[in-house]
Amino acid sequence: MIAAAFLAMLKRDVRLALRQSTDLGMILGFFVIAASLFPFGVGPNPETLARLAPGIIWVLALLAVMLSLDRLFQSDWEDGSLEQMALAPAPLSVIVLAKATAHWLTACLPLIAVAPVIAVMLNLPAEAYGVLLAGLALGTPTLSLIGAVGAALALGARKAGLLIAVLVLPLYIPVLIFGVTAVDAHLTQISVSAHFLYLGALLAAAAPLCPWAAAAAIRHSVG
């Protein structure tokens, strides 16, 4: 039953995201458009762009997460769907995990899919693609999970802004830094396994903790 509820919520959220935020083509288009702002800003010099590329792509990941995460629970909260989820027999943390997974599938996975195109446009050396993508694949789920806690905190809590600034944003920073520096390390022939270990450890910590924390925050908000 737990698996059924997980799948039902996952399917629902993916469908809802595809239906109401956009179809996949538009998500991809969005990332390409956002990435192409940087050359307009910093100029077309290929060498500079190459150096900025990992940072740009990770900034886009951050953007993708933030753009959609605050609506992860908000609209369900406002229209009463969230209280129904809190009343479902399946544990709420499983439902949160399903929602975070759906978010990752609809916001982060498309980014990973177009990352090579953006990397080409920004002239990133081809040998760095693998590390970049592996880092994204390992790091963005953590962003989604941490973001879910922030989104849950933002419901109802009066001082949510402060909580998020203090709790959630600082947690993003290590993920982003390891993700960016892994690419640089690889390009300067340094082994990247340490970076990936850190990213993996962060994910391993976030996967059980974040849904639990988010569920607690949600129970509080639907009261």
Partner: protein, 259 residues
């Protein structure tokens, strides 16, 4: 439905042309590909990579053509409220986007051996990328609403405003310092290309044009059918609902609506 009577006549003409366009286009494509890939000389500098030209240039030109068609359709829709213009623009947009993508991809694949890079942020390439954004924006807006009547006007305005990008693409190679080739085909002095390259290029151009028009006719039919389907389904919902209502209290005599 009277609003679409006119497109109906238009569709009949398009239907009659469709098989000609398809088979003609395919025949030209086969001939053009043969000439381009096997029966034309490699470039003395670029060797065989030059053959990308035969796809790159027709798709670049037709992508712009598709945009112009979309903008004209949108303009006629805005000015004369002609629904056909809107349908035409909606049909042309995805084809144009695909052609733009083909141009961008072939261009960057070609760029790697010739310029040493897949992509540079120069005026021609950037303005072509913006063309893609315009197509995406148009499609996003035009299809964003369940009631198509809501998105059509803003989308049409976007298409019309975006037309300024076309001359930028065209003249970017003259006004800006760019890696990209200047025009060799359309120049005042006439094309500066050896005939053994020019012929396959022209054939390919003809093939692309026929296939483009064929696809356009197919999509027009699809858009047209969508409009009709929606009208029919709306009628059904209405009828089923009144039937349900009539079960409870007695209503007036029910007649089937004309819809």
């Amino acid at each position: 439905m009277h609003r679409f009577a006119n497109p109906g006549r238009f569709m009949r003409v398009a239907d009659r042309l469709q098989p000609w366009l398809l088979w003609g286009g395919l025949a030209l494509l086969v001939a053009g590909l043969y000439k381009a890939l096997l029966d034309s000389p490699p470039d003395y500098q670029q060797h065989d990579t030059v053959r990308i030209l035969y796809i790159h240039v027709p798709s670049a030109m037709l992508a712009q053509g598709a945009y112009i068609m979309m903008a004209l359709g949108s303009a006629s829709f805005l000015i004369w409220k002609h629904p056909l213009g809107d349908l035409l623009a909606r049909s042309a947009a995805p084809i144009g986007a695909a052609l733009t993508l083909v141009c961008l991809i072939t261009g960057s694949v070609w760029g790697k051996p010739t310029w040493g890079t897949y992509w540079v942020w120069d005026a021609r390439l950037t303005s072509m990328l913006i063309l893609l954004f315009l197509f995406i924006g148009y499609m996003a807006l035009a299809n964003a609403f369940d009631d198509p009547a809501r998105g059509d006007k803003p989308a049409a305005i976007l298409a019309v405003v975006g037309i300024v990008n076309i001359p930028i693409i065209k003249f970017s190679v003259y006004f800006f310092n760019t890696l990209h080739q200047q025009s060799t085909l359309f120049r005042r002095e006439g094309p500066s290309m050896p005939p053994e390259m020019l012929t396959p290029l022209l054939i390919m151009f003809g093939a692309f044009t026929c296939l483009f028009l064929w696809l356009l006719a197919v999509r027009l039919r699809g858009e047209f059918a969508k409009v009709r389907l929606r009208a029919i389904r709306a009628g059904l919902v209405r009828r089923a609902e009144t039937a349900g209502r009539r079960r409870a209290p007695a209503g007036g005599p029910v007649e089937e609506g004309a819809g």
